[in-house]
Amino acid sequence: MHDNEHASHHHEESFIRKYIFSLDHKMIGKQFLIYGLIMFFVGGGLALLFRWQLAYPERPLPIIGASQQYMDEGEVVTGADRMWENIYESEKEEWLEVNMPNGVVEPAFYNMLFTMHATIMVFFVVVPILVGTFGNFLIPLMIGTRDMAFPILNMLSFWLAVLAAIIMAIGFFVPGGHAAAGWTGYAPLSADPQWTGVEWGQNLWAISLLIQGFSSLVGSINYITTIINMRAPGMTFFRLPLVIWSLFIVAILLLLAFPVLSSALALLIFDRLAGTTFFSATAEGGGDPLLWQHLFWFFGHPEVYILILPGMGIASELIAVFSRKPIFGYRSMVYAMIAIAFLGWIVWGHHMFQSGMRPGLGSVFMTTTMLIAVPSAIKTFNWLGTMFRGSIKFTTPMLHGIAFVSMFVIGGLSGIYMANTPVDIFIHDTYYIVAHIHYVVFGGSLFAIFGGIVFWFPKMYGRYMNDVLSKIHFWLTFVAFNCTFFPMHILGVGGHMRRISNPMQYEFLQGFEGMNIFITMSAFTLGFAQLILVFNFFWSIYRGKVAEQNPWQVTTLEWEAPTPVPHGNFGQIPTVYRGPYEYSVPGEENDWIPQAQPEHAPATSGD
């Protein structure tokens, strides 16, 4: 066979080829991870800014606000203040003055904050990490091939994402401010600057998302082609690990969903820049006020499953590995994911129950939406079934996996309230929705991401992450997360609307001040906990305990590759002999049989 064919061309690569314009899927995966983590801090920081306003409406922010006031009142000039004075000179002062006069978040700025918070979190954090990082890093390794089908497109995908992020960031500093129509960008509000005063911000938002769409398109073509065409010998579809299945399905969803958003964004840009009236009903010969919502949610609902399916895949790996058991009902897990992906296309109307869509359609969408509980139930119960009679090891990745399951169940069950049309009348556009969002995307996707990072870190960087810090991060995140987002259900039941900058303007919300303060405090704790993660991450890259090739004793192919994984991944492409979850097979010495281990070969020792 082709022994060492690749090992031979082990030429040195320049720094730029290796770390920046790398064609290697592993490096691109890591680049997406760093990118996602940076954007996570931006998006989270914005959330903390507006959380402050929600807890203490019209009160100046600490630090930023205080310095500003000192400036105004000419009090105590400290070193920090002198620093501010310099910023005062530049245009930064104006910027702060416009958006946060005296350190108080302006209502218009508040809208920009949550718009960008959500846009960044959804399009620049969760998708890049779940799909970009895990997709790139895991697909070639787990299906047993040397790289992606189109490495150059792969690199392009990352750099397009960077370009999109830069354009999105510029939006904050253009006159008129950034997009302020929510991450859903509802037209007509977003379609004409006269309604928001936002000029180029909204355009840049749309352009940036168009570019991000290209990046996803290129990425998903790559993933689909690679998974269909480049599996190692013996790696049939039903021997693929579930995380690969989930990434495959998500690539198809991304491929088909994003172009719909692109078409909507293109129409929006025409409305804003070329004088068309697709979305504004008030104009002469005008368009349809609900058109945008249909287009957006036709993309948007598949998008939320893009945010969760890879998380489900990762959780399945973690739970099987650390229960030392095969996945319960492997095939039904696959079919359930396909069913979720399929049903995801016919439920978009559940975001529009109160939008003025025909009530009859509401009933149809309620039915299809509720049906999604069925494949979700299959997945949930199968995870429980996987733990049943297992031998559960409480490693940090496993803790994240368990947290994923339990938080997803809470988020999913709150989805049932909203899917129910009469109940949705009351809770639509309240904090009940915000609670749901965060239980599924933070409690779901992010816990899976954290678990995945800790789990695959030894393969990525050849070292363990510090376990004590990881555990502290997990527990702090878990507790603070629930303290932040669980009370939001109660706010929602109380009728607390979302997207309002000052709840104290409403009499019926007066009783919620204390709860809002509590939520904000918890959110800051939650933010603090993420600092631990990032510190641990970078520290461990250089200082972590060196890891062996297969530290968790996993069966799948990525652990067959040497650590650190060389260019070309495998010395010789492995041949696959069995399914991905052969744990605790009776009569075997080890409690795991690698996928690449030939039949009847004597079992090799685990470590």
């Binding site: 073509i221 082609t225 065409n229 692109s262 078409s263």
Partner: protein, 192 residues
């Protein structure tokens, strides 16, 4: 490339292009859906303010035939390379590209005429969606033509043979998609 992969009936490049077409289909679905929302939502179409502006049905009908013809010639080009007939390949490619350019030319002159008649991007959703939808297709034809001429250049340089003609295959797949899409748009926008 001599890796032991599962034998696949389609090479990566061909599969990649087919996958791309999935995305293209959804892009046009979004625009066609928008068109239908306006078309079905308006009792009179074109809306009363546009009565008197006629879309050039007949000319476009002929243009449609031209484009369909180019699909045939593209197919012939592929047949030619399969038989290793390089000269025929070049001729068929040239003919295809010419038909594509002709299509664009006719479309362009139609647009100029329509704009003179007062149908512009700004004239309500009728003009808006007409130009955006048809324009989106035109951009696709244009990129297909450019791609075709690149392939033509490669053919001149003798880069294809009966053993290796992936470049022609991928271009053919894309070309056929662009061609096959057009009659749908023609029927919807001009006749429906």
């Amino acid at each position: 490339m001599a890796e032991m992969h599962q034998r696949s009936p389609l090479s990566n490049a061909r599969l990649g292009i087919l996958v791309l077409l999935g995305a293209e289909t959804m892009l046009f679905s979004g625009l066609i859906g928008t068109f239908l929302v306006f078309r079905v939502g308006n009792v009179t179409w074109p809306p009363p303010s546009h009565i008197g502006i006629e879309l050039p049905r007949a000319v476009t009908g002929i243009n449609t035939v031209l484009l369909l013809l180019s699909g045939y010639t593209m197919f012939q080009a592929r047949r030619a390379i399969q038989k290793d007939q390089l000269k025929q390949l070049r001729n068929w490619l040239l003919l295809t590209g010419g038909l594509g350019l002709l299509f664009l030319g006719v479309q362009g002159s139609e647009w100029i005429q329509l704009i003179r008649n007062g149908l512009t991007l700004q004239s309500g959703v009728y003009g808006g969606i007409f130009y955006v939808l048809i324009g989106c297709h035109a951009v696709h034809v244009l990129s297909a033509v450019i791609w075709l001429f690149i392939v033509f250049g490669m053919a001149m340089a003798g880069r294809f043979s009966a053993e290796g003609y992936v470049g022609i295959d991928t271009c053919t797949i894309y070309w056929i998609f662009v061609v096959a899409l057009w009659p749908i748009l023609y029927v919807l926008v001009y006749l429906f």
